[in-house]
Amino acid sequence: MNPEFQRNLWLEAGPRRWAWTAVVLAAVYGAAVLIGGQFPLHALGVAGAAVFLVAALLWAPRIAGRAVADEVMQRTWDFQRLSALTPWEMAWGKLFGATSLAWIAASTGLVLATVATGMTGGGDRVLQAAISGIGAAVLLQAGSMALALVGVRRARAEGRSGAFRFTLGGLVGLIVVASALAKVLPTRGQGLGGPMEWITAGLGKVVWWGLAIPGGWFLAGSLLAFAAWALVAAWRLMRLELQMENFPWAWPLFALFAGVWAAGVVNAGVGARFAVAGAVFAACAYASAFAEPADRVRLRRFADALAARDLAGAAYAAPAVIAPVKLAALAVIGVALSPHGEGAAAPPALLVLAAFAFLLRDLGVVAYFRFGPRPGRGDFGAVLGLFLAYFVGGVVGSQIGGQTGMALFTPSPVQPAIAAVSGGVQAILVWILAWSRIRAPERSDG
């Protein structure tokens, strides 16, 4: 047996915890039957779904994140990093060992909900919901662990100890993004209305790259695919923790996958597809800018490798933000080259170019703050800087120069040319400042 899985079973699934879990589950299901009155099966199904939601989508992701963060807090992480376990053994041992009890509780809920709904004529929807539930659980748990690993890397590189805050923030961000995505997904011309609606309501067809797919199956398949990516992320980040180097294929491929996936559900012409993919690439770029450690040693190694034309060395040290930015640039070109007259859904090429210029500026702002003298405060400084640049800049600009003034600080659809030029100039200036910080030598008073 995987020793990490076994250790987690020893710690997390002891007899006392087993007993308490059994008591709580028995109480919940017993109460459901009592409250259900004439419809005990239906009540059990609802209770089962609720248990699954709580255990698999709330409890287990929290434990999965803490499986790494607690090792750091309890000072056992270095011991683990020295182990002979492979990164995959370490990742799945923690992921499914630490959450074993939560999975057992969730399984009872899933089985009850599936059986109850199946017996009351749920048809395909039961299977869709079960697969979607498992996919969502794995996605959230592996995502939570990946976020914890990102937090650990950042904390170490930036001389801090707290990693769980980042996990929590990232998890909330993940749910918010999932909610936002779910709302914009077209189903019968309407949004899904929220990420959980699929449990209770039937979904229409989703047209994805011209294929009409039943909404439930589309959701289940998408969740499984993103869950697989989350597992890849946890494994790749674990490799880094165990001091192994990663050739950077996973993040660019994921960004490409996410862009293609999102572009597929936009059925409003090639330009619009490129624009949506570009927005996803930009989101990936922002995520990388915040998620990667502010490690100027690695950046210098990247610059040195480039100067020496050592492309393999440069690839290993390349900042993760580069790949999604390149993809976003390709998306901008795609929008510009898309045939005209395909409908109003495609944004003007100049506006997309302006958005790209502001993306570059924003990444410069993030780098400037995160590579500052106090990296621990970099995130807050970057968010504040972006808020001031967009909101205060936009308000001041519009007060002084109306739409033209506003276009100086935001990718304005009214004056996209001015916005593109202004964004480009700001990007250059901000990156000069950021680069001066990145290149600044370390003090010699270590």
């Binding site: 990490e4 020893w10 182990s83 002979a84 040693v297």
Partner: protein, 313 residues
């Protein structure tokens, strides 16, 4: 066994190591000493391949920490200054997990755990939870976890910190035993008097640089220049008016001589027993024969006064 060459390590806001170079021979017990914030722990983490230097190379048992960090992990045991244990696990389970996670096959894990427990004298507490152990016993368990896969190199960062005198003595005994088994050990500590008991070499780190002349061996820790040999204070039972001349005739370098007392410097090739035999053989009544060695603390202070070696910036 350990070779560091020009190691530079940067934290986000400051450089912690400035071109540190040194080597440690197989079987040596190296005391890594220096003031707080000197870079000892950072250096240990780099040797353990847990942190990657900005430049320079480190090899452990012939394995480069950058090229094969996992190979280095397998070759060594590392106990950080602030270590943690799985408090809910019994000593047996903690050691079995440590063995399994360090690559010991499942069939041999129980035996490896028992052997490691015996090495640190924890065999009688195998069923006790780690959280119930005293600080000294926790330290022993942590060391047992680092030893369970029989590494060839052991890195101990401030292992005696917070231990009571009895636990410290027990730790010293353990390190001596491990050293006797041929393990190469690197120990950092502020308690220099204890390092004296078991260290064969000393390396002082100051402001991220190697202080003085680098690694100095215990044999060279005699008063005066190590290149000129050990100094010996000798007292004779009878006064000799021509003592200086007689000693010079016997081939000794006489630093100072009175009627019944002398201070000699042995040639680098001379051993102390041979010198004593020559004196007795010449009919001199030797009352006391005292090789003059400095304590580790004195050597530390002496090194601290010398300019840094191997500094690159």
């Amino acid at each position: 066994m350990i070779a560091a060459q020009n190691v530079v390590y940067d934290y986000p806001s400051a450089r912690a190591l400035h071109g540190v170079s040194f080597t440690v021979a197989k079987g040596a017990v190296l005391a890594l000493v220096g003031p707080n914030g000197a870079g000892k722990s950072t250096l240990m983490r780099c040797i353990a391949a847990l942190d990657r230097p900005a430049s320079g190379t480190i090899s452990v048992a012939g394995i480069d920490t950058h090229a094969d960090p996992r190979g280095v992990h397998a070759a060594l045991g590392y106990l950080p200054d602030f270590f943690g244990l799985y408090d809910e696990l019994s000593v047996r389970r903690a050691l079995v997990y440590a063995a399994r996670s360090r690559g010991v096959p499942e069939s041999a894990a129980a035996e490896a755990a028992a052997r490691a427990a015996a090495r640190v004298e924890l065999s009688d507490r195998m069923e006790q939870r780690a959280g119930e152990l005293s600080r000294g016993l926790r330290q022993r368990l942590a060391i047992a976890q680092t030893l369970v896969h029989s590494p060839s190199v052991l890195l101990l960062d401030e292992p005696a910190a917070g231990l009571d005198p009895e636990a410290r003595r027990s730790l010293s005994d353990l390190i001596r035993r491990l050293s006797g088994e041929g393990m190469t050990i690197l120990v950092s500590s502020h308690i220099l008097a204890e390092l004296e008991d078991y260290c064969t070499d000393m390396l002082m780190i100051r402001d991220g640089r190697v202080a003085g002349e680098g690694v100095i061996s215990a044999g060279a820790r005699s008063q005066g220049d190590s290149a000129s040999g050990t100094r010996i204070r000798i007292a004779f039972s009878q006064a000799q008016p021509d003592l200086a001349a007689r000693l010079a005739d016997l081939g000794f370098l006489v630093e100072k001589a009175g009627a019944d007392e002398a201070l000699l410097v042995l040639s680098p090739g001379d051993d102390e027993a041979g010198a004593l035999a020559r004196l007795v053989g010449a009919g001199l009544m030797v009352r006391a024969f005292t090789p003059l060695r400095t304590s580790l603390e004195e050597a530390y202070l002496e090194e601290a006064r010398k300019p840094a070696a191997g500094a690159s910036s």
